[in-house]
Amino acid sequence: MALTRRTFIKSALALGAFTIVPRRVLGGTGYTPPSDELTKAVIGIGGMGHWHLGNTGARLVAVCDVDEEHLQEGMRVGGVKGYHDFRELLERKDVDVVHIATPPHWHALISIAAAEAGKDIWCEKPMTRTIAEGEHVVDTVRAYARMFRVNTWFRFSGDMFYDSGGTAREYRKLVQSGMLGWPLTVTIGAATGFNWKFYHCGRTDLTPRWIPPQLDYDFWLGPAPYKPYHPHRVHYTFRGYWDYDGGGLGDMGQHYLDPVQYILGKDGESPVAVEADAAAQHPDAIGSFRRILIAYADGCRIILEGEREKDEIPFIEGPDGKLFKDFRSTITNLKEKIAALPEPEPVVTDFMESVRTRRKFALNETNAHRSATLVNLCKISWQLGRAVYFDPGTQRCINDEAANRLIDPPIRAPWHL
């Protein structure tokens, strides 16, 4: 048969199909893969899960959800296989990156299982629901040499740090230059450009309801205590319950606190005291707070301001200067002065680059665990209704057994950390 143009193209395509094999084994920079294509799976196809289905630099091959309706949503992309049980999904050898967009009470267990299965992990915020869970994730990710990122952006993206008026990089340059003096107080609240989402409150009037047939509620609860089903506990409103998250603080806390931790240069340490000013909390349903104070040993403080929305409060205040929302400051020509300051050390800001080169992502298990610890420590003081004092070395509270029980609470069998 003569090789016509058409058959030539066809055979070239067929050849291509055989030679372009997806890259399954990840290499360092020196390694040139047959195809640079990375593959991913998304676990949890609810509110945030939809975002993860989109283009993140890897091809979606599998989705997982314990709600059949959500699963079907995730499978609308062609060539994607659906799973009910994430453990089955993790058995697949052809998945490079696992996205975890479940409610937070699942983040740690799935992260750990994914690391043990040799996957790199892109996990939603808050990284974990308790401090002990975070410690286990850090240990496992390190031991198994995996790449990990938490899905918040403000630490490293060029965009504004919420509505504060500047980028985290600019604030960091300013703070580290010492222009504002030391120690510093950072206030996170509506007045400084950060809105706590107190609509993520739980309800105390839930009477048991019938579980919808498409939802595997027992699996959805997983490590969380068994409580009678009510729709308000699950999709989209789960943040209002201590068993699964931490209300508006759980939702936005790591978003807001992680960049502040970076700005203050606290990636390697934890605070020594936290005190929440709030109404007493229900054991199940989360309410709101007025103010939470986080104090570091060197005198730096972070205030989570849940009220005083209209007051003029500095975002960052030091002995030598104040910085308000929209980058207004007591220091003149601040933007120009900041531009002349040295840049912070560069970091990897594309997770797929981390996955390929095995260089740590900008917001990885180590610094993300520190910022998740801020959130989880605040939750403990908020739940107990008293100040808690923390030993940054042992990562446990001082002389407060009840607080330590909240740092490392037992979970429901057969799940274990």
Binding site: R142, A145, W210, A279, A339, R358, R386, D400
Partner: protein
């Protein structure tokens, strides 16, 4: 702690510190306050109130706490919520420092309460509070719940939280435990790292149940006793693929525990074995390497450097990450030595930078000239990290030899991380030594540093290398001062490249703009202007115009009257780009002059642009535009002004636009502008923009509809609608078409009759073909659903029964379409000029009216709106708000002998002409069909029943009785499925008889679990004496026991009335209500009993052992609505 407290008290809020106010005495309780009053204060609003409330409650003694516990368990009530708040608050409060006595009182009361409360929910809640506040004294009490299926989990969790003394009760409970309880206990012993449990756990690790086995492996690993090694090693080796990762992780955990407890050699052995295992996954080998470093310490350096030769990149990168665990100069030396051999050199260099050991610096510097670019860039980065500023000379020396963009970028990144005041001096020295591309980078770097000197840069602004010259010109924009303006002007005039001139102009503007006095900004330029040649003047005028100012304007206005046409041209262009409103009058003069047409248009555009950019109120802007409009005489010019007026949403602009609507050539533009003005933001008195916009959307729409001449109406209205509100359903309706894509629609497969006969296997591919056909011919654009005139009908994804729908449609000349209801033709759409009766009729009716009552169509090309209501067989149609069909029966086109189908899809008909649809909304009307009521058993045969899974012959009818011999197994199912109902039946049992009534069962699995079973049993038979309560007659089997025994002896007829209403199941046996259950609160059993969450299914009768007879089986369907309380 004192330092800390003073630090905390700096805080300006009103925070109270427990240790400051350490008066935790119950004396705080106020006399005369009742417990009820205290509970009504729940939740306390701050720590002061909380302390007062909780200490008061404790002061009232254990009785008060018991009383609070008794309020628990009525979820959703205030009493329950108050109790939950109070007990949680108390639990936290009593764990505070110095509250030992109060804690004892509280915990004692909780323990008493556990004896009193009835429901497992109450008990579970109390156990949860013990998890917070309990200590050793509660251990024996908690032990009691370990073998309670529903409470073992919270009890075990409380024990694990207490830790001290918890292992013994767990150990004693283990032998008798079953299922989930056993797993909970094993896992808890693992959490507690109980060495005493070792022997029993080793036994469990051999269980046949994989869940128990896995729990035991975890527990053994976490305990970390050497005696478990063999079991875990073997498990990791032989684990089935599904469990392999988990079991291996347990084995690794075990090894880590060994290392922690001092048995490094044991840990090392495991690590080395796993690392050497070729079948192990890369991440497992990485973890093994981690273990080796843990157990070997510094001597593991050989393993790490050795791993750099590993074929797995994951292992190599793991080794590099572990490198930081072995600090010291000697380890650094080993890594440096590693660089000699090939592979991962770039990564090793990066790691050396991370390590921070300056011992590596000479090696790193030597690699700055490596042949591998990756190594070079890593070396630049590492050198910077090791020596900071001190590395500057070597980094800059890289630029003296390299033109490689990667090297230049790496050095640039390094420079940016250093303080610029330290970097600038050496960089300026380097400028003349480095390669041209590096010079460009350094000039840009210098240009970003406002404090750097301009002088050295000037020499590069004359370079013959264009990129270098341009970079220098650019930097001068930031570095140059007022005094440098003259030199920069000279450079601009000398510059030959267009790009270079643009850069130089920008730099000049930037430099001059920094001069504080606006009038002095153009000083140097004006001076240069006087002595410049005409071509140079044109260049300078361009810069001058961007700076503006009075003197500049005078110059430009003068030159606009120059005799030199080139000069005039340049001046008008400069004026048209003027930065401030002060050029407006000059521009109008030019626009109204006898200047060349292109310059007049330029001036007019400039005038319009100036006003558009000016920060002035809309009404004043209109006044300026009116002056421009007065000068505009060509349609293009008028159009330009109309366009500007369209953006000013006020009455004044509308007034100016309206006169043009009747103009032949400008009418459409004017009408569009009017539509745009009228569709402005709705009038909101409170908003700052109160003057903008003309009113609410309906008013505005009516206004433009009445104002715009018919020939423009449809385009203007479309323009208006495109501004918002399209495809958004009115209240009570949902959108069938989302305006963006074809979600919710599918292609047409055959007609309803043929479709109904297709099996799922045939339907699925046919549907897929139809869907791709649909996507080929139906599309969405600008919120409109478009049909290209080819292909088939488009159909709603689901069926509808009774409904009211709306749809806007638009057709072309001779166009033809229609709306199919329940899959049947049709509400007619066609061109009224061809078919004068108009659209809306039920065209295919033969017996009933098929024509519309009157013609209400708008002309072809305009949008029409249908509202169609269909209930039962009857259809009512409104076209453009006029009723054209009044409750007419729609006949069944597909089978004329039967009435229209009770439900079906809605279709938009294709009829070989292009079509447009939008605003497709639907509201379903709840149907009023009468539910089934009557006998399920006809007394003569098994009509309506089907035998499932058993021997057909074992079911029969005899003398009006339905019976089973009890020998055939299986069950008898209704043909239909039922959801909510009242079921009545009589049954009669032989001695020891056993049967059951299945509810909502599927036909798969054991219907007692896949659905649910109402037990039918001879309770009195001796063989059943030892049954669980939830197995007796009248129980929901395995779920809910009858509240009392209402069953009769064998051979007597008994009567069941079973009501299933949503999650509520009530059972009345022989006239006594014995079960009144809410399945929703039984959902913790759902994993083993999935039938509890089924909403509907078959009703069935069980064939078990002996003969059972049934009669009078009647059923009445009930309505049940899930309430809407799900916000």
């Amino acid at each position: 702690m004192n330092n800390l407290l003073s630090l905390l008290t700096l805080f300006t809020g009103v925070l109270i510190f427990p240790s400051c106010a350490s008066t935790s005495s119950p004396a705080l309780s106020a006399p005369g306050i009742t417990l009820t009053q205290l509970l009504e204060r729940m939740p306390p609003r701050d720590t002061i109130e909380a302390r007062w409330v909780y200490s008061s409650v404790i002061g009232m003694g254990p009785e008060a706490i018991l009383q609070i516990c008794s309020r628990l368990g009525r979820p959703g009530t205030d009493r329950d919520t108050q109790a939950e708040f109070a007990l949680q608050g108390l639990a936290s409060y009593v764990t505070g420092a110095g509250r030992g006595n109060e804690r004892t009182i509280f915990v004692g009361a909780l323990e008493k309460a556990l004896d009193v409360v009835r429901s497992p929910e109450q008990s579970a809640f109390i156990l949860g509070r013990l998890q917070i506040a309990g200590k050793g004294e509660s251990i024996s009490l908690l032990a009691r719940f370990l073998n309670d299926e529903r409470l073992s989990e919270p009890a075990a969790q409380a024990l694990v939280a207490i830790r001290e003394g918890a292992e013994l009760p767990l150990l004693s409970a283990l032998p008798a435990s079953r299922g989930n309880t056993r797993i909970t206990i094993i896992k808890s012993l693992g959490d507690l790292r109980s060495r005493r449990a070792l022997d029993q756990l080793l036994g469990e690790s051999a269980s046949d149940d994989s869940r128990i086995r896995l729990a035991a492996f975890y527990a053994l690993a976490n305990i970390g006793d050497r005696r478990a090694e063999d079991v875990l090693a073997k498990a990791a080796r032989v684990a089935p693929p599904r469990e392999r990762a988990e079991v291996t992780s347990h084995y690794l955990l075990f090894a880590r525990r060994q290392a922690e407890s001092g048995n490094s050699s044991g840990a090392l052995r495991i690590g080395e074995a796993l690392f050497a295992d070729p079948s192990a996954e890369a991440q497992v080998r990485a973890a093994a390497l981690d273990l080796i470093v843990r157990s070997k310490g510094d001597t593991a350096i050989d393993d790490l450097t050795g791993a750099m030769a590993d074929s797995s990149s994951a292992v190599r990168s793991a080794a590099l990450r572990l490198a930081s665990r072995i600090p010291g100069r000697s380890a650094t030396g080993r890594w440096v030595a590693c660089l000699e051999s090939a592979g991962s050199r770039s990564e090793i260099v990066s790691m050396l930078g991370d390590r921070g050991d300056t011992g590596a610096y000479p090696a790193v510097v030597s690699l700055l000239g490596d042949t591998d670019a990756g190594v070079r860039t890593s070396a630049v980065d590492a050198a910077l990290r090791l020596r900071k500023e001190e590395s500057l000379p070597v980094l800059l020396s890289v630029l003296e030899r390299s033109r490689d963009a990667r090297d230049i970028a790496a050095v640039k990144g390094a420079l940016e991380q250093l303080p610029s005041n330290r970097v600038i001096p050496p960089v300026i020295v380097s400028l003349s030594r480095v390669t041209a591309p590096a010079c460009v980078m350094l000039l840009e770097y210098v240009g970003k540093s406002a404090g750097a000197p301009a002088e050295p840069v000037f020499s590069f602004a004359k370079s013959s290398d264009a990129p270098v010259r341009i970079a220098a010109l650019k930097s001068l924009g930031t570095l140059g001062s007022e005094n440098d303006a003259g030199r920069l002007i000279a450079l601009l005039l000398a510059e030959e490249s267009e790009v270079g001139r643009a850069v130089a102009r920008n730099s000049l503007v930037a430099l001059c703009t920094r001069i504080p006095d606006p009038e002095r900004r153009t000083e140097s330029l004006l001076a240069a202007y006087r002595s410049a040649t005409p071509p140079q003047r044109e260049i300078l005028l361009h810069v001058i115009s961007r700076l503006g100012g009075r003197r500049a304007l005078a110059l430009a206005s003068g030159e606009a009257r120059s005799k030199d046409p080139g000069m005039r041209d340049a001046a008008v262009r400069a004026l048209a780009d003027w930065p401030a409103m002060d050029a407006f009058d000059t521009l109008l003069v030019i626009a109204g002059s006898k200047e060349k047409l292109n310059l007049r248009v330029l001036a007019l555009r400039g005038a319009v642009r100036l006003v558009e950019n000016a920060p002035i109120p809309a009404a004043s802007a209109v006044l300026y535009h009116e002056r421009t409009l007065a000068l505009a005489d060509r349609p293009d010019e008028i159009r330009l002004v109309l366009g500007a007026l369209a953006n000013l949403r006020c009455l004044e602009s509308l007034r100016d636009v309206i006169p043009f609507i009747s103009d032949d050539s400008l009418g459409l533009d004017a009408a569009m502008a009017a539509g745009r003005i009228a569709s402005g933001p709705a009038y909101e008195p409170a908003s700052e923009n109160a003057n903008e916009g003309l009113g609410s959307r309906p008013v505005a729409r009516a206004f433009i509809e009445s104002m715009v001449p018919p020939r423009f109406r449809s385009r203007v209205v479309h323009n208006f609608d495109a501004a918002g509100g399209m495809n958004e359903p009115p209240e009570g309706f949902t959108a069938l078409f989302n305006g963006r894509n074809l979600d919710g629609w599918k292609g047409l497969v055959e007609n309803p009759v043929v479709r109904a006969g297709m099996t799922p296997e045939h339907l699925a591919p046919a549907q897929a073909r139809a869907d791709s056909m649909m996507r080929a011919h139906w599309s969405v654009s600008d919120g409109i659903l478009l049909f290209d005139g080819k292909g088939e009908n488009i159909c709603t994804a689901r069926d509808y029964t009774d409904f009211e729908m709306m749809v806007d449609w638009k057709i072309e000349k001779n166009g033809d379409s229609g709306i199919y209801l329940r899959g049947s033709p049709q509400v007619q759409i066609w061109d009224p000029s061809q078919w004068p009766e108009g659209s809306g009729g039920l065209y295919n009716n033969q017996k009933n009216q098929s024509k519309p009552l009157l013609r209400a169509d708008r002309p072809v090309g305009e949008w029409n709106s249908f509202r169609i209501r269909m209930t039962g067989e009857r259809v009512t149609v409104w076209l453009n708000n006029v009723m054209v069909v009044d409750s007419v029966v729609l006949e069944n086109y597909w089978n004329r002998s039967i009435p229209i189908f009770p439900s079906g899809q809605i279709e938009l008909q294709s009829h070989s002409s292009p079509l447009c649809f939008r605003n497709i909304f639907i509201r379903e009307i709840p149907s009023r069909k009468t539910p089934f009521e009557g006998s399920l058993f006809n007394g003569a045969d098994l009509t309506g029943w089907r035998s499932i899974g058993g021997n057909e012959g074992s079911w029969g009818v005899d003398q009006g009785l339905l019976y089973t011999t009890g020998e055939g197994g299986g069950w008898l199912s209704t043909v239909r499925q039922y959801d909510n109902f009242e079921l009545d039946l009589d049954f009669r049992l032989a001695e020891g008889g056993n049967s059951g009534v299945f509810l909502r069962s599927p036909r798969e699995g054991d219907p007692a679990y896949t659905g649910m079973e109402i037990q039918v049993l001879d309770d009195y038979a001796a063989e059943y004496a030892s049954l669980h309560p939830w197995q007796y007659c009248g129980s929901i089997y395995g779920v809910q026991a009858p509240s009392l025994r209402a069953s009769r002896k064998a051979h007597e007829w008994q009567h069941y009335r079973i009501v299933a209403l949503g999650p509520h199941i009530s059972i009345t046996l022989n006239g006594q209500l014995i079960v009144d259950a809410d399945l929703a609160s039984q959902m913790d059993k759902e994993s083993t009993h999935p039938g509890l969450k089924r909403r509907s299914g078959f009703i069935g009768l069980q064939s078990h052992t002996r003969r059972v007879e049934f009669r009078n089986i009647t059923l009445k369907q009930l309505e049940w609505k899930e309430d809407n309380d799900t916000h």
